[in-house]
């Protein structure tokens, strides 16, 4: 361990069901990494209630945090606490994992200058298959979030369809990735979950170097251990390679696959997923 890690805050960001829990375990297996898990999405109401509301850099305020949080004093306090945590001096690299904030990156970068983002993406067919299987649309209130989104000036309304859990799941995935990848913030690196689980060595090394560290053997052990068998429930990080890559082929109907491939065609091409 060497020196002061202040100024190297990072965020692990990924859509629901994209492997973020697994990747959090892998990152935290490194002895020089300290992370907080979903500090805003599962520990505040303010950030959940503003999901998919785009926030600009000029809307960051050191005291008010954001005008939309005026009625959420504890959410403001939690965010300030998070800022303090990830920018604290010390010998570990500090970060947090989130599944929201895709559309708030300019604001987030104004609040946390120098933030490095590891965006983990996954084949949208796999993501949507898992979202439908676990009823995530209802849990995370995609309908409300998408309604908020389309009500904003500049929203990509053509990406949004809300008539079914399938449509809302696809819309959530498209909107979040379009908002982020349409204007990538500084310090963003995109990693495909499939590349990491197929061959962890090079991909993991790139990821760790992006946050300022070299990979640790404990991380490779964690990855290997967590891919040996399927275990646990909805949020389990134990999945075999076949499940990660191919479960959607068993759970999505052909018409659902066709829907996802048609709607997500531009993003799939951008991210290198063959249809």
């Amino acid at each position: 361990m060497t020196g002061d890690r202040r100024g190297r805050p990072f965020m692990l960001l990924g859509h629901h069901r994209s492997g973020t829990n697994f990747l959090t375990d892998v990152l935290q297996a490194h002895p020089e990494v300290s992370m907080v898990d979903e500090p805003l999405s599962v520990h505040t109401r303010g950030f959940r209630d503003t999901d998919l509301l785009v926030w600009g850099a000029d809307q960051w305020d050191d005291v008010r945090v954001h005008d939309a949080l005026v009625d959420h004093p504890m959410s403001r306090a939690r965010f300030q606490r998070l800022r303090e945590f990830v920018t604290a001096p010390g010998e570990v690299v500090r970060g947090f994992k989130e599944t929201i904030l895709f559309e708030k990156m300019p604001w987030l970068h104004a609040a946390v200058p120098g933030l490095r983002t590891v965006l983990v993406v996954r084949d949208p067919r796999a993501v949507v298959g898992s979202l439908l299987k676990h009823d995530v649309d209802a849990i995370w209130e995609y309908s409300r979030a998408l309604e908020r989104y389309v009500g904003q000036p500049g929203a990509h309304r053509e990406l949004v369809a809300t008539g079914s859990p399938l449509a809302r799941s696809v819309s959530s995935w498209r909107v979040r990735h379009r908002e982020l990848l349409g204007a990538p913030p500084p310090g963003l690196r995109v990693f495909r979950l499939e590349d990491l689980v197929r061959d962890d060595s090079d991909v993991l090394a790139e990821m760790m170097r992006h946050i300022g560290l070299e990979p640790h053997e404990a991380q490779h052990r964690t990855m290997k251990e967590h891919q040996r068998e399927h275990r646990g429930g909805m949020y389990s990080t134990y999945r075999t390679l076949d499940q990660v890559l191919n479960e959607w082929r068993r759970t999505l109907r052909p018409d659902e696959v066709a829907y996802v491939e048609e709607r997500c065609a531009p993003e799939m091409e951008l991210l290198g997923y063959d249809r």
Binding site: V36, D37, P39, V42, H43, T44, R45, G46, R48, D71, H72, P73, M74, S75, A77, R78, R81, F85, I139, R231, G232, G233, Y235, S236, T237, Y238
Partner: protein, 214 residues
């Protein structure tokens, strides 16, 4: 429900041999915690954030809908009380005339039972303890037999809030002892203790009450 009647929901206390310390035989259940928070009239509601109970995360064992009473999540009766912050755990402990244990007290408890973390860990397996996601979530606090001195779930099921002490007493991150259902089985004191944000109520963190002193 009054504090007196909630006491009936707590498990038994075990006296640690050679000490004046009494330890609850199991983590506090969601049932006991919900009753305690109702007796305490905890203000946390499904609004902004929370101070004692994570009312935002729907996956915790103790929950509340709007301004209604605290309740046990469906299927979680008898399970450890998860979603409780350090402040919430302290409040429940105080209500019942106790406090939270320190890490050194856990070490002493194990020693009094002729054991250490590693010694205990090697006796456990996925069929006798809840760790590494083998069970997919928490299990009832008496699901498995006692691990040491008549105490259940010392390792596994939930990590348990500890009262911070020493040079780390003022740190915002507090010790949690014992691993958890989604963590590897600890094999040493070092791996048995995690440091977590005290203001967060999490799905794999619970607590138990102690009375007296070592």
């Amino acid at each position: 429900m009054t504090a007196e009647t909630t006491r009936g929901l707590l498990g038994a206390f075990v006296t640690v041999p050679g000490t004046g310390l009494e330890v609850m035989s199991t983590p506090v259940t969601a049932d006991a915690a919900a009753a305690a928070f109702n007796a305490l009239r905890v203000p946390d509601r499904a609004g902004d954030s929370y101070t004692m109970v994570n009312v935002v995360n729907p996956d915790t064992a103790v929950r509340r809908t709007g301004h209604g009473p605290f309740e046990v999540a469906p299927g979680r009766s008898g399970h450890p009380a998860t979603g409780v912050t350090l402040a919430g755990a302290r409040a429940v402990a105080r209500l019942h005339g106790g406090r939270l244990p320190r890490v050194d007290e856990w070490v002493a408890v194990l020693a009094a039972g002729g054991s250490a973390v590693h010694d205990l860990a090697v006796t456990l397996s996925a069929s006798s303890a809840n760790f590494d996601e083998h069970w997919g979530g928490t299990t009832p606090v008496d699901r498995f037999g006692p691990q040491v001195l008549g105490l259940h779930d010392v390792l596994g099921n939930v990590g348990e809030w500890c009262e911070p002490s020493g040079p780390d007493a003022a740190a915002p991150e507090c010790p949690v002892f014992g691993g958890g259902w989604n963590k590897p089985l600890p094999t040493s004191v070092g791996t048995a203790v995690r440091r977590k944000w005290s203001e967060f109520g999490a799905v794999a963190i619970g607590f138990r009450i102690v009375r007296g002193e070592l």
